[in-house]
């Protein structure tokens, strides 16, 4: 370097190493990165007329969040101790504490995973949450449709029925209805065919249930949107002509769904494929902000873990050359902790 160590008095700048200065500057940029997310969250939340806070809507568990906060604080503590040990050249101790940090990071991610699973199990995912009763009804109908299509495609795949447009669900349904009365295709043994016959009856029954629901849904939706997409136009003309099937309420849908679930032929299928309708006002924007903030935080956790793994890979060869590294990854780790310190009250408590 031009400013050789021989003339330290002449060194310009501030008395911290480049790497630490760089890390601090980088953390400054990170603050702005999270500011964008957190700021958007705050204003979007304030701008909405209601925000899901009920546990049944959000499946946010304060206790899990609290434990995770605790986990991060312990890990932060371990990092400072590790760094202190590095500075005192007690590398074995430093390694111990870094290991604890790393393990705690895994624990954090594990708990995070549990939380995410809770949301996935209830389909609290952005873009998939019904916000109004009619959207909830529609979602049930859509999921039933998916199920019906899936069931029907089995017949086509197995060659029990054949139809040039397997997507044309109405005509396929007619064919399936006829299976119990029809001839056995040659490829199938009688035994197999008997099985198909029973399932055909069940699937057709399910189809009818779905179709009935669907008609109501179309009526509902087309009423809601004045300039609705093409599929609904037809329904609208019908509506004009007075053929309006009655609107269906959410309660009615729930009742029907429960009936379907109780059915012994196809109930298990329905339970597995169709979520209970549960409209959450502003649920989608809530889930969007929740996942983007915790998601990017989790990514930062993973990056921090990588930094620690690199140190730990040195094993017993760890030496004072790594002190700066540990200090800087420690700074980074504290920042990750800091973000969580703010996310915790904002997401879990308020």
């Amino acid at each position: 370097m031009s400013h050789s160590p021989k003339a330290p008095a002449l060194r310009m700048g501030i008395p911290i190493p480049n790497s630490k200065l760089g890390m601090w500057l980088f953390l400054g940029t990170e603050i702005m990165f999270f500011t964008a997310f957190i700021g958007s969250y705050i204003v979007l939340r304030l701008g909405s007329r209601g925000w899901p806070t009920d546990y049944n809507d959000t499946h946010i568990n304060v206790l899990l969040g609290g434990v995770n906060t605790f986990v991060l604080i312990v890990s932060s503590y371990c990092v400072v101790v590790a760094h202190e040990a590095m500075a005192l050249k007690n590398f074995a101790r430093a390694r111990q504490f870094l290991w604890v940090t790393l393990i705690l990071a895994f624990v954090f991610l594990g708990i995070k995973g549990v939380e995410y699973k809770g949301k996935i199990d209830h389909d609290i995912l952005p873009g998939r949450i019904p916000e109004t009763a009619s959207q909830a009804v529609k979602k049930v109908s859509n999921q039933l449709e998916e199920l019906v299509r899936e069931r029907f495609s089995r017949y086509i795949d197995a060659g029990v029925v054949s139809y040039p447009q397997p997507g044309d669900i109405l005509n396929v349904a007619n064919l399936i209805r006829e299976i119990p009365n029809g001839e056995r295709p040659n490829e199938l043994t009688t035994e197999q065919f008997e099985q198909w016959k029973t399932s055909a009856a069940a699937d057709y029954a399910l189809f009818l249930k779905w179709q009935d629901l669907h008609e109501h849904v179309v009526a509902n939706v087309s009423l809601e949107y004045p300039a609705a997409p093409a599929g609904f136009l037809e329904a609208r003309t019908k509506l004009k002509a007075g053929e309006k099937p009655p609107e269906i309420t959410l309660d009615e849908t729930r009742k029907r769904l429960n009936e379907m679930k109780a059915n012994e032929q196809y109930g298990a299928l329905v339970s597995a494929h169709v979520f209970d309708p549960h409209p959450i006002v502003y649920g989608n924007i809530f889930a969007s902000t929740y996942f983007i903030m915790t998601g990017f935080h989790a990514i930062h956790v993973i990056v921090g873990m990588i930094l620690f793994i690199i140190v730990l890979k040195q094993g017993s060869a760890l030496n004072e050359k790594w002190t700066d590294w540990v200090e800087n990854s420690g700074l980074y780790w504290h920042f990750v902790d800091l973000v969580w310190i703010f996310l915790f009250p904002m997401l879990y408590i308020i």
């Binding site: 008095a9 310009m12 200065l21 940029t29 702005m32 964008a36 959207q135 996942f291 990017f296």
Partner: protein, 618 residues
């Protein structure tokens, strides 16, 4: 003092010390994946000059459509015709793609990387007397992140099929950019465009942390903050702007990507930050969301307004250096220049709303943003007056470097003054999204920044390659570009006043604009002249790398530390570790006169006895 013609200078050391940094390096590690800031700077420079050609070609296609709507394009048309069934004819969605990509290339692949990437990299260590950047590997990565970005932008041209490049403007406002059914270019093409944007951001990010660290911590002994050349100050302030503004854009970009997740992956999961619910776009099913499109505009401009100063400040710094050198005079008001740059940066963070005056923004915000925007003209004014003061009564060297710098000042005034109209909300209500805006930003971006870059290329070329560019060719280039530039962009003010909206594939569809066709044709011809002139620059640049006149360390007889290093500097830059004894602009000072010259290098020690105080100062 005699007029200085750039030539072999006799004042400084010979050129022999050059070889000292030659370690045996393979070609790859020396010229391709190099960690040497000079090589990286030159890589950035050459890449951006090539990208300037790409962006310029796209601009000419835009101009073609505006002058000869729906007519087959001559040469370029056939080029693009490769992708397109209509032959050489521009379809309207293709037009949206043209100006989107023109702006994206020019801003993200030309102006920002040429200023920060090329000049920042090349000049920072040299001007502060460091042997390299603080984090050389990071520096190399910042260049090599450009290529994936260029690749993504490239893919975005073709990702959506023949005519469906990204077509949402460089501002990429949702909901248009958010929903695939909204436009032909809003599908895969838009996604790739966003990836490109993010990668450019990562590249700039790495650069800016590096620049700040280097400037804060790696200055040569004696190089106090107020002895730094204005170039360094401008790079420093630019880096701060980038560091604080860019993450917000990156975050917003991620939000937009997640809003579009269901268009990217086979899933129905997608966020809704910028999508209100219940919109029916192009007869698709009603949107699911709950977000607000204005959020994007705020976040985008929170970055992109500071970004326009990112695109200007470094040029301002470099021009200050060059004007001072070419006038053989100190910069007029060095400290006010520094403070005004800092003020521009500070104010630059609180004016972003002036891009949203007609967007339905809260009027109280509108008033605040208007006032702050007006105030930002103040530091700009200080700078303009100080530049004129710098030239005033100087011993002016009328070479192309100086002419380009003078053009920078002249054209920046035009661009800045048109900004005043737009800063006034009621007037902007009329001017928003008309060609008046297009005139404004081409004056500041092309008129100011690019002319500054043209000057900078010629000025530091000797340091990069040890040879001079032909001044005569540069003068011809200057005249043609200057005339072409004004011919193209000045009439745009009038088009704007006449109410011609921007981003129109065919404005003449509207009766009250029909009579503007001849003027547009004139502008297109000017643009072609200007475009052709760029081949002079290109030719001169590449010819001079190999055949230019050789020169010594300090062909311009300038003061900065970089001029005390060999041309080109070897690995590690300085053969003699530099110590800085004075400010960078002591041209024609009594001290210099005492040596019988009109410049005095920052490294040249004062007469014995003064040394101690000068250095111990810190």
């Amino acid at each position: 003092m005699a007029t200085i013609t750039p030539a072999l200078d006799t004042h400084t050391h010979d050129d022999h010390a050059h070889g000292h940094g030659h370690h045996e390096q393979s070609f790859i590690s020396k010229y391709v994946f190099s960690t040497d800031h000079k090589v990286i700077g030159i890589q950035f420079l050459i890449t951006t000059i090539l990208m300037l050609m790409v962006g310029g070609a796209l601009a000419l296609a835009v101009r073609w459509q505006l002058a000869f709507p729906w007519e087959n394009m001559p040469i370029i048309g056939r080029l693009f015709g490769l992708f397109q069934t209509e032959g050489g004819q521009i379809s309207p969605e293709f037009y949206t793609m043209l100006f989107t990509m023109h702006a994206s290339v020019m801003i993200f692949l030309v102006i920002i990387p040429v200023l920060a990437g090329a000049f920042g990299n090349f000049l920072i260590p040299l001007q502060i007397g460091a042997d390299d950047m603080a984090f050389p590997v990071l520096n190399m990565l910042s260049y090599w992140f450009m290529w994936p970005a260029i690749l993504c932008f490239g893919i975005s041209f073709v990702a959506g099929g023949a005519t469906a490049g990204p077509g949402n403007g460089w501002t990429s406002y949702p909901v248009l950019s958010d929903i695939a059914s909204a436009a032909p270019g809003s599908g895969a093409a838009q996604t790739w465009w966003l990836f490109g944007l993010t990668l450019v951001g990562v590249s700039s990010m790495m650069g800016s942390v590096n620049y700040m660290t280097t400037i804060i911590n790696m200055r040569a002994p004696g190089m106090t903050l107020f002895r730094m050349p204005l170039t360094i100050w401008s790079m420093f302030i630019t880096a701060i702007l980038q560091a604080f503004a860019l993450p917000v854009l990156t975050a917003a970009g991620f939000m937009l990507v997640f809003d579009r997740l269901h268009e990217l992956l086979p899933t129905s999961i997608h966020s809704g930050f910028f999508i209100p619910s219940g919109l029916v776009v192009n007869n698709a099913a009603p949107t699911v969301g709950g977000g607000q499109p204005l959020l994007w505009q705020h976040l985008f401009w929170f970055y992109s307004h500071p970004a326009v100063y990112i695109m200007l400040l470094p040029a301002m710094g470099m021009v200050s250096d060059m004007l001072s050198c070419m006038s053989r005079k100190p910069v007029f008001g060095y400290k006010p220049m520094v403070y005004s740059m800092a003020a521009i940066a500070g104010l630059g963070f609180i004016v972003w709303g002036h891009h949203m005056f007609t967007s339905g923004m809260n009027p109280a915000l509108g008033m605040t943003f208007m006032t702050s925007t007006m105030m930002i003209a103040l530091p700009s004014a200080i700078k303009v007056f100080n530049w004129i003061g710098t030239i005033w009564d100087g011993n002016i060297q009328f070479n192309a470097v100086f002419l380009n710098c003078a053009a920078f000042v002249a054209l920046f005034i035009v661009g800045g003054l048109s900004g005043i109209f737009m800063a006034a909300v009621p007037v902007d209500i009329y001017f928003h999204d008309t060609y008046f805006i297009v005139a404004h930003f081409h004056y500041v971006l092309f008129g100011a920044t690019l002319f500054g870059v043209f000057a900078g290329i010629q000025f530091w070329f000797p340091k990069m390659f040890g040879r001079l560019m032909s001044d005569r060719v540069q003068k011809v280039h200057f005249v043609l570009t200057f005339i072409g530039m004004n011919g193209t962009f000045f009439p745009m003010h009038l088009l704007g006043i006449a109410g011609m909206p921007r981003r129109y594939a065919d404005p003449y569809l509207h009766g009250y604009l029909e009579h503007l066709l001849p003027m547009n044709q004139f502008m297109t011809i000017s643009a072609i002249v200007m475009g052709c002139a760029q081949f002079l620059l290109l030719g001169n640049f590449f010819y001079s790398i190999f055949r230019g006149e050789k020169c010594g360390r300090n062909p311009w007889q300038a003061n900065g530390l970089e001029w005390s290093a060999p041309s080109p500097p070897g690995h590690g830059n300085f053969d003699v570790p530099p110590v800085c004894y004075r400010g960078p602009y002591e041209y024609s000072s009594p001290e210099a006169e005492a040596l019988g010259q009109d410049f005095i290098l920052q490294t040249s020690p004062p007469p014995a006895g003064v040394v101690r105080t000068a250095v111990a100062h810190h």
